[in-house]
């Protein structure tokens, strides 16, 4: 149907990117630009006693905390992360100072020759030993004690998950300039206005004296939500001190060692079971926040809200804490607390079903929330929950029922197979009242005299295709050919703050602003005249306003839903497991571009799968990350995922453009539980820890056969 908005088009950034013409941060010429190299802490927790600097050649500079014109803190949610370390360092990789110079190698050599004297302090590396709680959130409904009392039995289990590195192909990079009192920063990022506000505080200037330009960005997945604010502050301070532009582009090892990752988690869950149904859930969540708060508050909120899974349980109590440890700060990673919760809840329900001798999928579907049911925060599922139909569709696509039954029977021979299916959602858009109270998105459309239209937004195309999908929305509403609509460079000196590129909000929230602006522009259209139309975020009328103090109300206006299946085959001689296939069915509302949406679902799904299997961030006793290179930190190759299929089950959303809702993060939530359930069929044991490695597999097979 060529008339459907979902009909794929050639992506607007395709030509530049495939031809190698697209310029990423480090692709711009270095004319007159200094290289910045950051000296980082080698200790997980220490007081800095002294720093011995070598003699500096002409034209080289040292930039440290004393050079910060404003506060030596980067504003993210709280303001606790220093631009450059004060007297203490809190994790291995924390920035102490920067060396800036005209020669790349020389600058690196100077940095490496600096000696730091530390007075070591006892670090907290184990989250269970942490006594410092950064954040605590919770929600509840009903009388938990009474329900636990009444239960036929109370099922208890603990679930653990590890860390995960975003592993965007383009490392973090930023260039700062300082001229005539204006601080400008350009670089790889998701949220130009986050960077903008952080810079104003660090540089002690008002926001008019800051300019941030988002460059072509080689992937983010959340990793470029918080960290760019830190790096931007560092290069901005350096640029002011040196009077020259300063560029800092990380090495891969540096990027893995010092930038924020997915929070490791520990879930302790009690479930009351009565008359064959789960009647109460008591969920205690501990997230390892790392050394600074960065985005932990919001990640924790999402984890807490998703701690009921897709289910509606009469009695609920969730308590979540984000605890400080002396490890690299954890922050945003696609799914943002959701993947931890869905992994734990899917496995929990699966295990309770086993205990009851029930079919896992059937049992889970019986508990699935429906339209009109309450959400964990006392909001409402306002729209249809299509999970049952999606389960049916996906089962048909991948032959789930048959395979699941076949693999449940005893398997002999060297190779064993398993299949698992996960049910999950993603709360679409910013959590809680953020969209209404904090972000307050503004979007402009600018019609030029040549009757071409520019979309002025601060959202970044980090690969998810916004320059194309945004333009498709405006072009459709205006009835213009796609090539007459472009998305302007995200430069804070001329685009309004349409909010960060996070939370799967861009299409649903900003896209809807674009659609509304375009509708108004169409009404006002006068050929040959310039015209600017502005739209501002309005909370949809049906929303039960979220009260951040009481943690109550609609945390999200709507939800995107997903069902994923993973089929595995394990070599029982080695424990090595390969993926036979991965299938996903998604309700992201109306699909704005079938190719782009499919690309999002597939990439996110694979990240979810490898989160459970090959991606590991082990640390040694000193707290140093051991897998800091691409030869040790493994992400899947083209050979690792032979079959990856996607179907859509669109349930239109009233307040998204043409019915679209959040998409990007959804697919990452289901990969781990589907993978682990498939693995359970192989090892014939209930599992509750990810990543589950080749070694774990072989060990478990051995234990089970004994």
């Amino acid at each position: 149907m060529s008339d459907s908005i979902g009909t794929p088009v050639i992506k607007k950034d395709h030509c530049d990117k495939i031809s190698g013409r697209a310029l990423y941060t480090d692709d711009w010429p270095m004319d007159g630009v200094l290289y910045g190299r950051i000296l980082r802490s080698k200790k997980a927790r220490a007081r800095i006693v002294d720093i011995h600097l070598p003699p500096l050649p002409e034209g080289c500079y040292i930039i440290d905390r004393n050079d910060v014109p404003g506060v030596n803190r980067v504003h993210i949610v709280k303001d606790d992360c220093p631009v450059f370390a004060d007297d203490t360092v809190e994790y291995i990789g924390e920035a102490i100072l920067m060396v800036a110079g005209p020669d790349k190698k020389e600058t690196g050599r100077i940095r490496d020759s600096i000696e730091v004297e530390y007075e070591e302090l006892e670090p907290v590396l184990d989250v269970l030993k942490s006594e410092e709680c950064f954040f605590e959130y919770g929600c509840s409904r009903g009388d938990l004690d009474a329900e636990l009392e009444r239960a036929d039995f109370v099922y208890e289990e603990q679930f653990r998950s590890g860390s995960q590195e975003q592993a965007y192909l383009e490392v973090q990079g930023m260039e700062g300039m300082w001229q005539d009192g204006i601080t400008s920063v350009r670089g790889s990022m998701q949220c130009p206005y986050y960077v903008h506000r952080a810079l104003a505080g660090v540089m002690a200037v008002d926001e008019d004296h800051v300019r941030v330009l988002g460059e072509v960005t080689g992937g983010g997945f959340g990793g470029k939500e918080d960290y760019p604010s830190i790096l931007a502050a560092q290069v901005a301070v350096a640029a002011k001190k040196t009077g020259k532009p300063v560029r800092c582009v990380f090495e891969r090892r540096e990027d893995i060692e010092c930038t924020s990752k997915r929070h490791p988690s520990l879930y302790n869950i009690k479930a009351a079971v009565r008359d064959g149904r789960v009647t109460a859930l008591d969920v205690d969540i501990v997230l390892d926040a790392g050394a600074y708060t960065t985005l932990s508050a919001v990640v924790l909120q999402r984890a807490v809200i998703a701690a009921e899974g897709i289910y509606n349980i009469p009695v609920l109590k969730v308590r979540g804490r984000a605890m400080k440890t002396n490890t690299v700060p954890n922050g945003a990673f696609r799914g943002f607390g959701g993947p931890q919760s869905f992994y734990a809840l899917e496995l929990l329900f699966d295990h309770i079903a086993q205990k009851l001798g029930r079919d896992s999928l059937e049992f889970r579907l019986e508990h699935c929330a429906q339209k009109g049911d309450p959400t964990s925060t006392g909001g409402i599922f306002h729209f249809d929950v299509p999970i049952p139909e999606m389960v049916e569709e996906l089962s048909k696509l991948c032959g789930y029922g048959e395979k699941h039954k076949k693999y449940a029977a005893e398997q002999s021979g060297r190779y064993r197979r398993g299949i698992g299916m996960s049910l999950f959602y993603h709360g679409a858009g910013f959590t809680g009242a953020g969209e209404r109270d904090m972000i307050k998105a503004v979007l402009r459309l600018k019609k030029n005299r040549d009757d071409n239209v520019e979309i002025l937004s601060a959202n970044m195309d980090i690969g998810q295709g916004l320059t194309t999908t945004f333009a498709k929305i405006a072009a459709r509403e205006l009835g213009l050919p796609l090539d007459r609509v472009t998305v302007a460079d995200p430069d804070t000196s001329f685009v309004p703050d349409s909010g960060p590129t996070v939370a799967s909000r861009s299409i649903m929230v900003v896209g809807e602003l674009i659609r509304r602006a375009a509708a108004r522009l169409k009404e006002q259209w006068v050929s040959g005249e310039e015209c600017i139309v502005e739209e501002r975020f309005r909370e949809p009328d049906f929303v039960l306003p979220f009260d951040p103090e009481r943690f109550e109300g609609d945390a999200y206006p709507t939800f995107s839903w997903g069902v994923q299946a993973v089929e595995l085959e394990t070599d029982t001689l080695t424990g090595y497991t390969r993926i036979l296939g991965a299938w996903g069915d998604y309700d992201i509302g109306t699909v704005i571009d079938e190719n782009i949406a499919r690309g999002q679902m597939e990439g996110g799904f694979l990240q979810g799968i490898s989160y459970a299997s090959m991606e590991q961030i082990p640390a040694d006793k000193s707290g140093r990350i051991r897998n800091s290179s691409f030869s040790d930190y493994l992400i899947p190759t083209a050979a690792d995922i032979p079959v990856l299929e996607t179907i859509f089950h669109p349930v239109e959303y009233s307040d998204g453009p043409y019915g679209a809702k959040g998409a990007g993060e959804l697919p990452t939530a289901g990969g781990a539980p589907a993978w682990l359930m498939a693995m359970q069929q192989i090892v014939c044991r209930e599992l509750n820890c990810i990543p589950f490695t080749t070694e774990d597999t072989l060990r478990t097979l051995g234990e089970v056969s004994e």
Partner: protein, 268 residues
């Protein structure tokens, strides 16, 4: 940089010292020695040849893995290992000599060199010697290679009988061996005439236990089957894995599992 025209010139240059030998570059460039002067042997004609010597193949040290895979005379066992090395771009540059010279027990082609009793051709202006591969590896990253010597070629005997190969990495491609195993067995008229088994990525060097292999040599399949538990137990005692990113326990267990399977596949 010196790029000699022929092997003699290369050896002369090498004898004068101060040079780092480079063929594919895939190892030396991971941590490039900043002021090193490179002796480029990647196009030396003498090092690029693959020759069929009847019972063996002589593979020039600068032959790339891709060239090995594409050659009609390189044994299939070696090709099986070559195909599992990293990915095409690395296989296009990486060489047989470099894989050996790197000294790693994880080197995928070296496992096959061990299991097939390869000999190396080491050349210097002083002459040529041909040590057995297992004598050449002295320990972790320790090689019996004088500063003026160049790995010129590998004499790789063709496997007799049937072979078995398995590599376990962290993923399907672009993976460093976490463990690798190769076995070759020749059975004539129901009697094992030769057997060899090599384990990679387990210890400081590729492991082979010829004295244990001898337990089954000359035995009938029936006898070998009866001896299998003792045979496996002997390997269990002999293999002492080192700890790395994977545990000793896993390494040991997989070694024995694969050894057992290798025998089973061959009727033992």
């Amino acid at each position: 940089m010196v790029r000699p025209e022929n092997l003699n010139d290369a050896l002369k240059t090498l004898s004068r010292g101060g040079m780092t030998i480079c063929a594919g570059g895939t190892d030396v460039m991971v941590y490039p020695p900043e002021n090193a002067r490179l002796l480029m042997v990647d196009r030396l004609p003498e090092l690029k040849l693959i020759e069929d010597l009847g019972d063996a193949v002589r593979i020039g040290a600068a032959v790339t893995f891709t060239e090995g895979i594409e050659s009609p005379i390189v044994p299939e066992l070696m090709k099986a290992a070559l195909r599992r090395i990293a990915a095409p771009a690395i296989r296009n540059m990486g060489t047989f000599g470099g894989n050996i010279g790197n000294g790693s027990a994880k080197a995928d082609s070296v496992l096959i060199d061990f299991v097939l009793d390869a000999k190396l051709e080491l050349a210097s202006i002083r002459g040529t010697r041909t040590p057995d591969i297992d004598k050449f590896y002295l320990g972790r990253k320790k090689l019996d290679l004088a500063p003026d010597e160049l790995i010129a070629a590998i004499f790789l005997p063709k496997p007799k009988g049937s072979w078995y190969y398995e590599k376990v990495g962290g993923r399907e491609a672009l993976a460093i061996s976490r463990l690798s195993f190769a076995g070759v067995i020749d059975v004539r008229d129901g009697v094992i005439t030769s057997l060899s088994a090599a384990f990679g990525a387990v210890a400081d060097t590729v492991l082979r236990f010829k004295e244990l292999e001898a337990m089954l040599t000359g035995k009938s399949l029936d006898e070998a089957r009866a001896m299998k538990p003792d045979f496996i137990a002997a390997y269990d005692r002999a293999i002492v894995p080192i700890r790395g990113r994977v545990s000793e326990t896993w390494r040991k267990e997989v070694c024995l599992n694969l050894l057992r399977d290798f025998l089973s596949q061959n009727g033992i």
